[in-house]
């Protein structure tokens, strides 16, 4: 601790056991040089930006008020301080360093950190993790969350009687602790569980995340309780005023009538008091900070839209065009036109990935296997994540094929060549997905029942299942009931799919159901049936779980059933 204090001017007001809390003083805040800047560069920014695009497209962005990558936060901006790009966001960040060492820059200070440290940073505080230099490695696992989205307001809001997540107190600029090995492991397992639930989106995922989140917060709250209790009143009071002001500025920057006076009125303080406290805490005047937020958004609009300068000015709540030109130049050292031209390149790259993914999907639908393989490689080279290529390229294409198949717009030959193209793409993606620990949506074993050699329908179902991201174990044809059951048991399949073409062999499906009951796995596995003579009433009669009329519908049903079983 002493070393840290000496080297980085870090002020520790209180040390309890192995826990530290970081406080800011007026003096330190005054030293800050925060400038709003564009989102680029910095620590892992490009990758995170791609994730943002993916999450936005997949709809997860709005669905998950918790995430494990920065740009999934609802609102993110970066702040340039000295040579560092720091970032702020509207969600609480829980960051645990799992390996290596480096610095956690918070506002204008750098705090040495290393494996085992955990930082809880409230919303809207510019901060960032950086390597110590010299090729050293540091891994930070982060969760971003908004307590109010997960818990009742009176539980999530500090200061209320039921508030129980002490470590997430709004009034601390940041809190950190060095976790012991046991707690580290515990926290890590909660992270794993939450991230897995978010990634897989199984049924009841939200409740599962909430449960694990509660346990994580309680664990950290208990661990850090002593620290939180020792926050000086003065700091709490100042931050309590500045924090909502910043939030309002981010939410209402587009209103040209938004002024210091308006916010002060809302917060029931005088204009001069807010101005003074804001300047002392943030090291920048209220008007400068608000202008920077507006200019930051103006940059985004220039980069990502074709809006005219006049329209940008209006949408960002800026005063007038001439003033905008002057402020913009001071902010970026460029004119709006220069800025837009320079960032076209970046836009092209983003667009390129979107175009490649779209081309993967289109060529897959046409069955152009070689082209798909080349495009997948190209997407990898352009920096697209394997999950993104799988979901937005290959599976998106197969999904369209499946829908068209259901509507008789495409026929089996087209499905087969599309599946072949997908397999070619998967040759490149499989090792990358495995390296990233991406798991299949579920596992299904498929076969034609004993006594029946027909396999076209069964093969088609296999392809459709793979096209939905499921792992498929193809048992072939003439499969005895016990082989279905044994495979499901040993391979932890969530679903068994039985196919039959003959009236004489469809009875074997009942034997599969019976075998699953006898093996004691009936409550752990769903059984689907299909084939020419099979229908819904037969499915019910033998006690199977699902019948579908075609292979594409079977794939949809299998995904739902896998999730159901996984959610149990």
């Amino acid at each position: 601790m002493r070393g840290r204090k000496k080297l980085y001017g870090f002020v520790a007001k209180k040390r309890v056991k192995n826990i530290i809390t970081i406080f800011t003083t007026q003096k330190n805040y005054a030293k800050m040089k925060i400038t709003m800047a564009e989102i680029s560069g910095g620590y892992g920014m490009e990758k995170e930006f791609n994730n943002l695009l993916y999450l936005k497209k997949s709809g997860l962005l709005n669905a998950a008020p918790i995430c494990h990558d920065l740009f999934s936060c609802k609102r993110v901006f970066s702040a340039r301080m000295s040579k560092w790009h720091l970032y702020a966001h509207d969600m609480i960040e829980v960051g645990m360093i799992t390996e290596g060492r480096g610095f956690h820059y918070i506002l204008n200070r750098a705090i040495p950190c290393e494996a085992g440290d955990i930082y809880i940073t409230p919303a809207d505080i510019p901060h960032g993790y950086f390597l110590a230099g010299g090729g050293e490695r540091m891994t930070v696992r982060r969760l971003f969350l908004d307590l109010a989205d997960w818990f009742d307001e009176d539980v999530a809001r500090p200061g209320t009687p039921r508030y129980c997540y002490g470590a997430f107190h709004d009034n601390a600029v940041t809190a950190c602790a060095r976790l012991d090995a046991k707690t580290q492991a515990e926290v890590g397992s909660y992270y794993d569980g939450i991230v897995e639930e978010l990634s897989l989106g199984k049924s009841e995922w939200r409740n599962a995340v909430k449960a694990q989140l509660s346990l994580l917060l309680i664990l950290l709250g208990r661990y850090m309780s002593d620290t939180i209790q020792n926050i000086p009143n003065m700091q709490q009071k100042e931050w309590r005023l500045v924090s909502p002001a910043i939030r309002m500025m981010h939410e209402r920057f587009a209103e040209s009538a938004l002024t210091l006076e308006a916010i002060a009125d809302t917060l029931y303080v005088s204009k001069s008091h807010l101005s003074r406290v804001f300047g002392s805490v943030m090291g920048k005047s209220f008007s400068q900070y608000l202008r920077n937020i507006r200019l930051f958004h103006a940059c985004e609009l220039l980069k990502r839209t074709d809006l005219t300068v006049e329209e940008v000015v209006e949408r960002c709540g800026l005063r007038d065009v001439p003033t905008f030109y002057r402020s913009f130049h001071a902010y970026t050292d460029k004119t709006p036109h220069q800025y837009r031209t320079e960032h076209k390149k970046t836009n092209i790259k983003e667009k390129t990935i979107v175009v490649i993914l779209s081309e993967i999907s289109e060529n897959l639908q046409k069955g152009k296997a070689k082209v798909v393989k080349e495009l997948v490689q190209q997407a990898v080279d352009e920096g697209s994540s394997p999950e993104q290529i799988l979901n937005e390229g290959l599976l998106a294409g197969m999904s369209i094929i499946g829908e068209k198949f259901k509507n008789n717009e495409v026929y089996v030959p087209e499905v087969l060549v599309a599946a072949r193209a997908m397999n070619m793409g998967m040759q490149i993606l499989k090792p990358l997905l495995a390296a990233n620990g991406v798991k299949a949506v579920g596992k299904v074993c498929v076969g034609t029942v004993q006594g029946d050699l027909h396999d076209i329908g069964k093969n088609l179902v296999c392809m459709m299942l793979e096209g939905k991201g499921l792992e498929v174990i193809d048992l072939g044809n003439d499969v005895p009931p016990e082989v279905f059951v044994q495979t499901a048991k040993e391979q932890n399949c969530q679903v068994i799919c039985c196919s039959a073409l003959l009236t004489t062999t469809m009875g074997m499906m009942e034997s599969v159901v019976k075998a699953a009951e006898d093996a004691g796995i009936r409550d752990k596995v769903k059984i689907m049936v299909g084939g020419a003579p099979v229908n819904e009433s037969f499915c019910k009669q033998i006690g199977a779980d699902c019948y579908t009329v075609d292979a594409a519908s079977a794939a949809d049903a299998a995904v739902a059933l896998c999730k159901e079983v996984q959610g149990k």
Partner: protein, 340 residues
Amino acid sequence: MNRQPDFENNLLRVMNKQKPQRATLFEMAITPKVYKRVLGHGATEPGFLGELKLAVDGMTKLGYDYAVCRAYGFKIRKDERVNYATRTMNGNGIICDWKSFEEYAWPKIEDFDYSPIEKIKPYMPEGMKLMIMSPNGVLENTIDLIGYDNLCMMLYDDPDLLKAVFDKVGSLLLGIYEITASMDTIGMICANDDWGFNTQTMLRPEQLREYVFPWHKKIVETAHKNNKPCMLHSCGYYNDIIGDVINDIQFDARHSYEDNIIPVEEAYEQLNGKIAVLGGIDVHFLTTSTPEEVYARSRAMLERAADRGGYALGSGNSIPDYIPYENFIAMTRAAIEFDR
């Protein structure tokens, strides 16, 4: 049963979309076990003639106006067929490239002995005719040779080779019909070729039109040239191609209906007046229902078609071993008793 075969006034009239003189029966295939049961014996002599005699005796006894005549012994793919009740359509493809196509030992039309089709004439009761059918169809044989999945890929990878295989198979099957259609004993032709699954055709309709239908058109032309009707037996979904079947290829009748696709009652309403409807009592229904239920449905179907014609009663596909004998007889009894 005491029904004298009368092909001309019954099945032929049905094929011409007319009202038959009596309720007419139709089957594409009946298991020899049924013949053995109704006749008390199986084939009395080996070979093609023995098989024909058994069919003639059995179908006469059961009340049919015709007997089924398979092109006995003619096989395009000579291996496999270990278990006829069930087989994979994805078996090892024999033809996978031009070399295997050229080296394949294709059967020759002239090697086939057609004489039993004429020799059987004195044995046939008066008024009876034969229905000639090939050993599977153009698409079925091609799938046998290539494998279905491989065939689908070949559509994109080597369409010329695929066309060559289809054309070779088509020309062989057409050859059988060209020789037999003119024979006096032959009353009608059956082109048997499964084209669909429950929900769609096995190839795109455009692909069927390019590779398969031209050969069926030639088969139908051959039949019509000899003033004989031609029926299609084809399993599976057919909505997208029924226009081709009726208007372009010009089949006279269509056979094979499944309740999971379209019950024959609905199919009859859809097709009556455009093409004759044969059979249609669902095989699964025949297998799992009681004789009373089979009788009731069969009679209701005959009543539905009584005034409009163009219908012959029979199973949706064929009479395999596993359909209970009593149920099959209940169906035929419905036709025989319908006229009383």
